[in-house]
């Protein structure tokens, strides 16, 4: 860091030095020049003065007088030499100072004048005078001494100035030092506030400023404290909101997961209200919420004497966590049995009505995946229709869950990487053995190119909201493949698809986009047609207006009402493989198929036999009069049209 005083001194010094030097040197030059001119003038004057006398003496031939004149002139010690020359420049007379150096002559001022005489100013010779520059040299020397003196004085001045500046800046340095070490909250003491000059004013101002800073900081700290408190309160409120259920104010699932970490002997008893859906349907959702709230209060009251925490798991499910570190599993089982008994003997009321509430309980005392295992136990209790079930490893569903999660991940990955594809199995017209249609069958291609059948992932997809994506992919890819062919294509639709308005809209939009609706057959399972007649009927009417055909798949496995089938206005019946596979050997199967074929033919419905595995079966089908056949004998599902 360069001090201010140093900068001032430095810059002042440089400027002063340059100015002084420039001034003095210029002055010296001027004086030297002026002095030289003056000396030259003197020399010329001397020459002018003696010139007439010399000229006359020379003219008159008074050599002695001439000599005398020169001698007299040489009394001037400034005159080093005088020479009188004739017109040929030959020296006639000369006088010079004694002890004359060559350097004196060389450095002297030389003045030459022509000697004239008479009115004609006739030239009779020359006089040359050498005038000493000793005085000039003395002046120059004096000047140099003067310069050195000036510089010395300048140096002394700067030195004193530096001292003065240092003295004047010392208080400022003191102030700077005080401020450097200043921390907020400190009392600033500079110690020069009594000075009445600007430094004192600065000092006083800085002290006042530090006081104001301290006051402000104090206020700020107070505000921060208040703010911190507010933030804490708000955080607590938000935390409560995050970890509590809005309806019952009980801690929620997130809180349960947090709390479980701290519990040594982890355990969860899940209490689920049986048939709460019916209660909702009966009383309405708003009443259902109120009932849940009242139930939670009853539950809290029942467990208040036990070391149990209650959590709301959402909807109609609650969790109890026994907080003791050591206990026997059977003790917890018996405890929960007592609690359930008390629950069911307590009244859950709504608008002065007693609501009969039954519960199922699944208990898990496991340190890993406690919640999942409690769920398994709960599901088991419903399955076995036992009120309380404790999780055992032998239940085996844990493995199933794990597998399901793995499959679901595979399915998601396949969707992300476009590895859900249709495989096409030919449907052959029996009379001429010509393939006229294909059925699109969904496949999942693993990263190692292994082809996975739908049973592996389809049910999972239905439960996991990925199902609609699968349907849409199948629609798009199937239509695209047959677009530039003359083949018809069969696409399978489930009830879930039919009831999904987005999927239906996508189907209609695709049919319109590709413009081949008349070559599209939509296959619906017989069982789903039976169970959801109205929805399926409405759907069929819709798609038939677009030109699509409808096939009932796996026909023969359900308990179809033929009247319903007729009114559905279907185009094909696909005879289930179970009644086709033995048709060539089993008379009963043949009779059943014959009956179905007759029925269908009467109503203009064509029949398609599935699972045709041999020529004998195919021939039998031909005898019976089945219209189409599909099976491994005729063609396996492949990724391309054959």
């Amino acid at each position: 860091m360069v001090k201010l005083s140093t900068k001032v001194i430095g810059s002042t010094g440089i400027i002063a030095f340059v100015v002084t030097l420039t001034f003095v040197v210029s002055l010296k030059e001027m004086v030297q020049s002026a002095f030289f001119e003056s000396e030259t003038n003197k020399a010329e004057l001397v020459v002018k003065t003696i010139e007439p006398v010399i000229a006359l003496n020379l003219y008159l031939g008074f050599e002695d007088k001439l000599f005398n004149t020169l001698e007299t002139t040489m009394r001037n010690s400034d005159i080093l030499r005088i020479e009188v020359m004739n017109l040929d420049n030959k020296i006639i007379s000369k006088r010079e100072q004694t002890r004359l150096n060559k350097s004196d002559i060389e450095s002297s001022i030389k003045v030459v004048s022509t000697l004239h005489i008479g009115e004609n100013q006739e030239n009779i010779g020359y006089v040359r005078l050498y005038y000493s520059t000793f005085d000039l040299s003395s002046v120059i020397h004096s000047f140099d001494n003067y310069i050195y003196l000036m510089l010395l004085l300048l140096f002394i001045f700067l030195f004193l100035l530096a001292g003065l500046l240092h003295y004047l800046h010392a208080p400022l340095q003191k102030i700077a030092d005080s401020l450097m070490n200043y921390k907020i909250g400190d009392t600033l003491d500079i110690g020069i506030k009594n000075s009445s000059d600007e430094v004192g004013l600065i000092s006083l101002s800085v002290i006042n400023m530090s006081k104001k800073i301290n006051d402000f900081t104090s206020q700020l700290q107070n505000s921060n404290t208040i703010l911190e408190q507010s933030v804490q309160d708000k955080t607590k409120e938000l935390r409560n909101q995050l970890y509590s259920d809005d309806l019952t104010s009980l801690p929620n699932r997130k809180k349960l997961i947090l709390d479980l970490v701290m519990i040594k002997h982890k355990n969860i008893s899940l209490i689920n209200i049986d048939d709460f859906k019916e209660i909702n349907n009966l009383y309405g959702h708003r009443a259902g919420d109120k009932i849940l709230s009242n139930f939670s209060k009853v539950l809290l009251r029942v467990v208040e004497n036990y070391p149990i925490d209650i959590y709301s798991m959402g909807a109609d499910e609650f969790a109890c966590v026994y907080k003791k570190d050591e206990f026997e599993p059977m003790y917890l089982y018996e405890l929960m049995t007592r609690i359930v008994y008390q629950l069911q003997n307590s009244f859950v009321s709504y608008k002065n009505q007693e609501i009969d509430v039954r519960v199922s309980v699944g208990i898990a005392i496991e340190n890993e995946n406690t919640t999942g295992k409690a769920n398994i136990a709960l599901n088991k209790s419903r399955e076995l229709k036992r009120q309380i079930v404790m999780y055992e490893r032998s239940m085996g569903v844990e493995e199933m869950y794990r597998e399901n999660i793995e499959r679901l991940n595979e399915l998601k990955e396949a969707l992300d990487h476009d590895r859900i594809v249709p495989y096409f199995q030919p449907i052959v017209r029996i009379k001429d053995r010509i393939t006229t249609k294909y059925e699109a069958l969904i496949r999942l291609i693993k990263p190692n190119n292994e082809v996975i059948a739908p049973y592996y992932f389809l049910e999972l997809a239905k439960k996991s909201r990925l199902y609609s994506s699968l349907t849409e992919i199948m629609i798009e890819k199937s239509l695209k493949v047959v677009l530039d062919t003359s083949y018809e294509i069969s696409i399978n639709l489930s009830l879930q698809d039919i009831l999904d308005s987005d999927t239906m809209n996508y189907l209609k939009e695709s049919l319109e986009r590709y413009g081949i609706a008349e070559r599209v057959t939509l296959e619906i399972l017989e069982s789903e047609g039976i169970e959801n007649y109205e929805e399926v009927s409405h759907f069929i009417r819709d798609v038939k207006t677009l030109g699509c055909k409808i096939a009932i798949d796996d026909f023969g496995t359900g308990y179809s009402n033929f009247d319903h089938l007729i009114h559905l206005n279907i185009d094909y019946l696909k005879l289930d493989g179970s009644i086709i596979k033995n048709i060539d050997t089993d008379e009963n199967s043949r009779i059943i198929v014959e009956t179905m074929v007759d029925f269908s033919r009467k109503f203009g419905i064509e029949t398609i036999a599935e699972f045709v595995h041999s020529e004998d079966v195919l021939n039998t089908l031909e005898e019976i009069g089945v219209d189409f056949a599909q099976g491994y004998y005729l063609g396996e599902p492949a990724d391309k049209l054959l």
């Binding site: 006359l56 008159l60 031939g61 007088k65």
Partner: protein, 174 residues
């Protein structure tokens, strides 16, 4: 023999002006130069010449001739850019104007008369003998330690001769 010696003695006594040859030579070399120190000397030319008359007593004829010869030897027929002529004129026979006069020694009264005339004419009267300055001559030469020109300061004032001022730096005023 005695008569001869007496004649020679008397001649010598009668013609007892001794002329210093050195002084004569110095005056021969100097006086003509001084003539052109007169600013108006051109107005005093005779036939475009500087005509100097050497005035002498008959007894000094030889001296006059010698003086003339000295002048001629020194200057020839020209001085500066002007023609120079030297005339020998006895004091008694001076009957016209010359550019300047050089007076050798003379009897009393003679020099005064010719000096007065020369003064009227505005001509310079040089005197061989500087003592003649008090007899009205204007300029004379003396060889002392140095060769010195003397001028009659009274005559300078009253004469109509306008000298180049430079000359006053070397002359002595008598």
């Amino acid at each position: 023999m005695r008569t001869v010696l007496i004649v020679i003695f008397m001649y010598s006594f009668l013609g007892a002006y001794e002329y210093d040859k050195l002084l004569l030579r110095a005056e021969a070399y100097t006086f003509p130069k001084i003539v052109i120190m007169d600013k108006n000397y051109r107005q005093k030319l005779n036939n475009n010449s500087i005509e100097i008359a050497i005035l002498f007593e008959p007894i000094d004829k030889l001296v006059a001739i010698e003086l003339k010869k000295m002048i001629k030897d020194k200057f020839g027929t020209k001085i500066s850019t002007n023609k120079l002529e030297i005339q020998l004129v006895e004091f008694e026979k001076l009957d016209r104007k010359y550019s300047a006069y050089i007076a050798l020694k003379s009897k009393n009264g003679i020099l005064e008369k010719v000096s007065s005339k020369s003064k009227e004419q505005g001509r310079i009267m040089f005197a061989y003998d500087y003592q003649d300055l008090k007899r009205g001559a204007l300029v004379s030469l003396v060889i002392e330690n140095y060769t010195s020109l003397y001028m009659n300061k009274i005559e300078i004032k009253t004469s109509r001769i306008d000298f180049n001022s430079a000359i006053f730096s070397i002359v002595r005023l008598w």
